[in-house]
């Protein structure tokens, strides 16, 4: 009996944890947090969004997976910009002491700034640019800027950690700069780069909610904020669970990719 229980640990313990949290949730909504909908009510009110996940009844009234999809597209765009800019910056930081001395202080200062602070600046940035969707550009600006740093810093660390032995091989064989970069430096740095990419993706997803809230774009975060303003609190929790679940899946996927490159 004891043996079987231990074997089911992986299933029973998380269920127990979830049950405890749900219990606290019931208790809170019944006592001190009067506005908080209890789990049953949350489920009944969220049903239409979950059972018809791709439905579209209006711009701000869509199935939860449809909203997720819109958010993911925005994240994918911002995240791509972050990688395209962040990786070369990381390489420069790793390669050049002068570059590091010039830009590291400013990076260290910009890095901890919250997305909530960047977004208004993004709006200002693109306000006078013609032919663009200002709110989208501001959101992309914020996502890219906030999620870039782990990629930048990890790439820089990876470049600095390239073993002297590998560089000596390149020097002895007189490899061209291009070949040294593509055949030696990039492969040697890849494991570090992918750790950066994974952390960056986590941040990009974190930022999306803030970006959508402030710009009012349709998506999980935008939906959450709209429902809050409309005094419909049930779907806030649905959004939070969705955001958490998607973030978790993204992180798992990236760590699979990351592990592939670890052996390199």
């Amino acid at each position: 009996m004891k043996e079987t229980l231990r074997k089911l640990d992986f299933l029973l313990l998380p269920l127990l944890g979830a049950a405890v949290i749900t219990g606290l949730w019931y208790f809170s909504s019944a006592t001190w947090a009067g506005d908080l909908p209890n789990p049953t009510k949350t489920w009944t009110e969220s049903k239409p969004y979950v059972l018809d996940p791709f439905g579209k009844r209006g711009e701000m009234d869509q199935g939860i997976l449809r909203f997720t999809w819109l958010s993911l597209i925005l994240v994918a765009k911002g995240y791509s910009i972050a990688l395209i800019l962040g990786t070369p910056i990381g390489f420069f930081l790793g390669l050049s002491k002068t570059f590091t001395k010039a830009f590291d202080p400013i990076i260290q200062i910009l890095r901890p700034v919250s997305p909530l602070a960047w977004l208004p600046l993004g709006m200002v940035f693109f306000a006078k640019v013609k032919g663009v969707n200002i709110s989208e550009m501001a959101a992309l600006f914020t996502i890219a800027l906030c999620s870039m740093w782990p990629t930048v810093l990890n790439t820089a660390v990876g470049v600095r950690a390239i073993p002297t032995d590998y560089m000596n091989v390149a020097r002895v064989l007189k490899l061209s700069r291009w070949k040294t970069l593509t055949k030696v430096m990039i492969p040697a740095t890849l494991p570090y780069m992918f750790t950066g990419f994974r952390l960056s993706l986590g941040i990009a997803w974190l930022v999306i909610v803030a970006a959508e809230m402030l710009t009012g774009r349709p998506g999980v975060g935008g939906f959450l904020w709209q429902q809050y303003n409309a005094l419909v609190y049930e779907q806030i929790i649905l959004c939070i669970l969705t955001i958490g679940l998607v973030g978790f899946v993204l992180d798992r996927l990236m760590s699979v990719v990351e592990r592939r490159f670890k052996t390199a």
């Binding site: 032995d165 590998y166 000596n168 091989v169 020097r171 002895v172 064989l173 007189k174 490899l175 055949k183 030696v184 492969p187 040697a188 890849l190 052996t263 390199a264």
Partner: protein
């Protein structure tokens, strides 16, 4: 006339916390074409520093090195180097590692021809069946075989070996010494090796250069090794001169290598006095 590699008055000074420190000084050595010379000395005496200066991977403070009538300036594929750790690129297969160098040296050759060169040398070192494996799948000894194949495949003017078998167990070391000796003999290549293994030096070399301890290390003694070639380990060890030469080398390492030590220590004790005073 016959000198192929000439090292003139080589000097190496490293900056250190206590000011510049002279590692090697007044190092003069000439190698004939096709000669196998071993540099022996205690760990940290600067023998690897000398080799790395010949390789061009370490800058020369003073003096000069001439290879085949041309003064050396920086590293290049005309010197095949076998490092102590094989220094293979772990994301490439054994063959790709060897090909990387071949593509640099034989860039005019057809791709098939270049592949043939890589396959030939990998086969000669005994890796015919493992050339498509990555270094992570190879044993330490096999990795060093790739390192040797990579150096020879460049058809270099010279071979530089930096304690190439130092990290191997003795059985593997014996095997690889034989592989190296065979390749050296067939390719008639000039070789300079650094080691602290007396038997290895005797088995492989034409001459053994004994270095004194650093700082300011230099050449203490040069010993001619005239065992007949091609050499067989057993025959070498049974040669009447073997134990006499071995005893001479060990005596050098145990007694004479340190002879500069007291002089080098003197300034240190002088500062100690100054501090107490």
């Amino acid at each position: 006339m016959n000198d192929y590699l000439e090292i003139f008055n080589l000097k190496k000074v490293y900056p250190s916390a206590k000011g510049p420190q002279t590692i090697v000084q007044g190092f003069n050595l000439k190698l004939r074409k096709g000669e196998f010379v071993t540099v022996i000395g205690h760990s940290g005496c600067g023998k690897s520093t000398v080799l790395m200066m010949v390789a061009g991977l370490s800058t020369i403070t003073d003096g000069g090195i001439v290879l085949a009538g041309k003064e050396l300036d920086g590293p290049g594929p005309d010197r095949g180097i076998v490092f102590q750790s094989p220094s293979l690129l772990p994301w490439m297969t054994a063959k790709e590692n060897v090909m990387l160098g071949i593509e640099q040296v034989f860039f005019t050759a057809e791709k098939a021809e270049r592949e043939q060169i890589a396959e030939y040398y990998l086969t000669v070192v005994g890796l015919a069946d493992s050339m498509h494996k990555k270094p992570g799948e190879l044993s330490q000894g096999m990795r060093q075989r790739v390192g040797i194949a990579r150096a020879f495949a460049l058809k270099p003017k010279m071979l530089l070996l930096d304690e190439p078998f130092g990290m191997l167990d003795s059985l593997t070391r014996y095997e690889l010494q034989a592989v190296l000796l065979e390749l050296w003999r067939k390719n008639k290549i000039t070789a300079m090796m650094v080691t602290h293994d007396v038997d290895e030096a005797l088995y492989l070399s034409d001459r053994i250069v004994c270095m004194t301890d650093g700082p300011e290390a230099g050449i203490g003694e040069i010993i001619e090794v005239n065992f007949p070639r091609p050499r067989d380990r057993k025959a070498v060890m049974e040669h009447p001169d073997y134990y006499q030469l071995r005893a001479r080398l060990i005596e050098f390492l145990e007694v004479h290598a340190h002879k500069k030590k007291p002089a080098a220590l003197a300034p240190v004790s002088a500062t100690a006095v100054a501090i107490t005073a």
